[in-house]
Amino acid sequence: MDLNQLAKLRELCRDEAAFEHLKQILAATIDSPFVAITQALTQTQQQLERQQALARVISRIRENLDLATIFQISTQEICQLLQADRVAVYRFNPDWSGDFVAEYVMPGWLPLVSPDSQKVWEDTYLQETQGGRYRQQGTFAVANIYQAGLMDCHVALLEQFQAKAFALVPIFMGQKLWGLLAAYQNASFRRWEADEIGLLVQLGEQFGVAIQQSELLDRLQETQRLARIGNWEYDLTSQRLTWSEETYRLLGLDPTQTEPTYTEFLDRIHPDDRPALLTAIQQAIEVGTVYELDLRIIHTDTSIRYLAMKGQPFRNLAGQVTRLFGAMLDITERKQAEIAVQTLNQELSKSVVELTAVNRELEAFSYSVSHDLRAPLRSINGYSQALLEDCWDRLDEAGQCYLQRIRAATERMGELIDDVLILSRITRSDMTFQPVNLSELAQDVLIDLRMANPDRQVDCHIQADVIAWGDSTLLKVLLLNLLDNAWKFTAKQPHARIEFGTTEDDNGKLLYFICDNGTGFDMTYADKLFGAFQRLHSVQEFSGTGIGLATAQRIVHRHGGKIWGESTIDQGATFFFTLEA
């Protein structure tokens, strides 16, 4: 009951005693509930104001995604509302030390957060207990730091903050204690009311949510940046586009820019790709179809990037499409690789066509050689023989000898043609890969050689059951050439010896070999062994056309292998070959 009301009552009462009596009655009957009601009203009023202020703060928190802004606005509001001297946000480090990341401090007090005081506070209690009571959602309010039984070091720390009283509430990010929200009273001691603590707790909870959202957004942006994926939304009613940061970058724009218009977005797209996109968007809006297409984006530096674009319509409850949302992915590297592969394939097909043509020509050529080149030789040979037979009595010995030489030359020419044709056939023939018993093939070849040269005594050693993977026809030609050489070059040996078998090189790779104790060759010319028509011996010394080893090499190459020879003159030669690369 206020004094004005009492003064009015005094005027009404002429008797002093009556007034006193009235006062007592009033005090007993009216005054106490009245005061209580008035007090309650005042309290409620205050709580209402605080709740309103908190609601205001919370709605501002929700409008913002930027943590620094949220902290700045909220600490100021709450500090003013609580009439505290400082409200600060303290963040724990992984080792439970921490620092103030935001504060609002009344003028005249030492700031704890400033660009030049990035101080890490090491509170041993919090560090040892890993957040202490706050981990269990506890709060801590102290009216007088000197009478709360605090440890000296703690008091000293608070003195550094210039604080006389404080209230601390935890900030949780999900299940994890993230930091503390602190209110400090510096000018005087202060008893903290329960609803004031409640207010701080609620704000701390809101901070927790905001921090978690901010963290999620950071991770989303980070993920988008790493994956080169951007997302977007297009509100059809407001015509407003919303882009994620990466979407800006994908389109060659600065993420700090304001949101672009739909037209500005279309301008980024390669003119040739625009119609397809526009059709897709129109269909999405009208029919509600999901679309997916690849587009080219022209950056400001005129470079072209490829994006895979996906869009999906969103329908409201009435079934109308009200917005589109989607994602875009940078596929430039993939596209470039695809284009490179395409180019390569085109070049390859061209080469194949050319090669096929060349092969066909080669085949025609060799067919013609096979038929036409030998025919004149037969005439020369035949008529030389006719001369010898019909006119022998008119030819002297020299003349007869010349004709014999002509005949021999035509025969040799015939052999050369045949060998060249074999070589060319071996290059062109189709191959059928299968297990081939090389030992049996070698045996067959040697039997033929023995039959053709019954007078020769050659000691042959063939390792049993040497199986190779290859084309049996070609492998037979390979062994024929190598064994024929061995046979030929051991002709002058009284004890000729030929061996076929396998061994391993230093890397454990299987090597096939054919070894003889014949004439051998000079290693100086080892690189000339395999050239077509290359001979290391004269025809008088050893017969042959110089095609055999070229043929052998071509067969080995067609099996993905290598062939080489090792020799010392007059101490035999060994030819090694492999059959798979």
Partner: protein, 151 residues
């Protein structure tokens, strides 16, 4: 079956005059005295065998004992001749020996798949060639028998 065969002829299909000359020389030297008819390309060979063109009116009941057929011929080549002979009842069983320069796998396959009776490659060496011709003559003129058509 005739008990007394009149000496039957040989049809030599050959476009090279040298080869023709040398082949005849080789046959004669081997003692083959039968008549040798020469056709210088595929058309001439078919005309002779079917009694057409310049051989219109020839009695096609009388056919050579063997045809020595070269493959590379002007106008109609040897394989085509062979195909025609094998699809005609009059010449289905007529012995055809391909006598040619090449030993390309392709030629061998084409010749055998079209029903040649033999494939002989002409060697460069005339002595070897003579020997081959002599053996051919012996075999196809003296040893070989064919069914008589429809009689």
């Amino acid at each position: 079956m005739q008990l007394f065969m009149t000496p039957r002829s040989i049809l030599l299909v050959e476009d090279s005059p040298d080869d023709e000359d040398l082949a005849i020389r080789a046959l004669r030297r081997s003692g083959v005295l039968n008549e040798i008819i020469v056709a210088r390309d595929g058309v001439e060979a078919l005309d002779y065998l079917f009694g057409t063109g310049q051989h219109t009116g020839r009695d096609t009941q009388i056919q050579p004992a063997v045809v020595l057929l070269d493959l590379k011929l002007p106008r109609v080549n040897g394989i085509e001749v062979l195909q025609r002979l094998r699809t005609d009842d009059r010449t289905r069983f007529l012995p055809v020996v391909v006598l040619t320069t090449s030993n390309e796998q392709r030629d061998l396959l084409d010749s055998y798949s079209n029903g040649c009776n033999s494939y002989v490659r002409k060697p460069v060496d005339f002595i070897q060639f003579s020997d081959a011709v002599r053996q051919l003559g012996m075999y196809w003129l003296l040893l070989n028998e064919i069914p008589s058509l429809g009689r």
